[in-house]
Amino acid sequence: MSNTIHDMGGMHGFGPVEPEPNEPVFHAPWEGRVHAMQRVLGAAGLWSIDGGRASLETLNPATYLASTYYQRWFLGLEKRVVSYGLVGADELAAGHSLRNATPLPRKMTGADVQKPPVRGHFERPSSAPAKFKPGDRVRTVNINPATHTRLPRYARDKEGVVEAIRGCHVYPDTAALDVHNENPQWLYTVVFTGKELWGDAADPAIKVSIEAFEPYLLPA
């Protein structure tokens, strides 16, 4: 789902940012376990990074807001291990394994961690030349898909300028639904004025850029 609570840019009412002095990497041991399980299972190749994000975005908005970051990761991970058939809902309820495993496509090993874990690569060969070049004026599309997208609401149907081409990358909107549907698309940095995004009262000193996939853009 795209029009839900995770898409927070420009919202009001959440209060001040509260930095925590000398913040620990994990606030409790279980957070580290969730982080590590997510990395290990993420490397198995069953779902894409955006499939993982989508599982958080489809949490009930009230749950999303009431949960800490790693609670959300955990709730998303629970959903995924069940929906991808790794663990049965009955096993989660029982708290222990009730049947044998099905093999994973890939598995993270100790050698991967020793490096330590390197982020995946998301650039792919292109099948067509980029439609836009730096300096081009573009307008973002007005889309409201019921499924995952990386075009935030505040930057839809807005006019901006292409600042850079970042290569051809896995397209989140399709890869979220099917890890094999990478559907690579050109990726651009597109800059908007504060006024274009937020209206006449916007601070004239601000400009905001998003990383926009080519299907998000039309010539302006």
């Binding site: 840019g9 420009g10 209060g15 990074i49 044998n100 961690v113 330590p116 390197v118 290569g167």
Partner: protein, 201 residues
């Protein structure tokens, strides 16, 4: 009511501890995860991968114009050329603060952050207040960090909506002309490389 909510939060927390333990037990039994491997991952983020890595890039860029040019051209390649402790995957982009423009990095949709050079993001970076306000009220956000920019400075916000990752190259503070690279690196905090801080003596 408030007290009930409070109790509820506590039971939720212990509930999640039990559920995380149960999930690890199930996944281990099935052979999907190895607890020793999980230990190694946790340890690497707790002890090896953090903002000191990014600070090395910044300090080197401050003293070596060729490295700075390489960093701004291709930060992934430049970072990896230092034999970095955490190899940088695709696709790191360094953005330079100047007297005219201050850069601020956010991920309004989730928590995208350059782990390899800054470690895991702090809670505030992943929080609703930061994600909601950085793109509409960056000066207010900077004020929350005690940062005030000169009135004529433009602010450029980078919303990390794809797998590109951003690190801010802050301005070298005056009065550090003869400093060593190591000493300079100590000035470069995590927040300086997100844009919610500036290096100060």
């Amino acid at each position: 009511m408030a007290e009930n909510d409070h109790d509820h939060d506590h039971s939720e927390l212990s509930d999640i501890q039990l559920r995380v333990r149960a999930l690890e037990t199930i996944l281990t039994k099935k052979g999907y995860v190895d607890p020793a491997l999980l230990d190694q991952i946790v340890e690497s983020y707790e002890t090896k991968i953090g903002p000191k890595n990014g600070a090395r890039l910044v300090a080197r860029a401050w003293i070596d114009p060729d490295f700075k040019a390489a960093l701004l051209k291709d930060a992934t390649e430049a970072a990896n050329s230092l034999g970095h402790v955490s190899p940088v995957g695709s696709h790191l982009i360094a953005v330079e603060n100047t007297p005219e423009t201050h850069n601020l990095v956010v991920c309004t949709l989730c928590s995208c952050y350059p782990w390899e050079v800054l470690g895991l993001p702090p809670v505030w970076y992943k929080s609703a207040p930061y994600r909601s306000r950085a793109v509409i009220d960056p000066k207010g956000v900077l004020a929350d960090f005690g940062v005030t920019l000169p009135a004529d400075t433009d602010i450029r916000i980078w919303d990390s909506t794809a797998e590109t990752r951003f690190i801010v190259l802050p301005m070298r503070p005056p009065g550090t002309e003869n400093w060593s690279e190591d000493r300079l690196a100590e000035l470069v905090t995590r927040d300086c490389m997100i844009g919610t801080g500036v290096p100060t003596l």
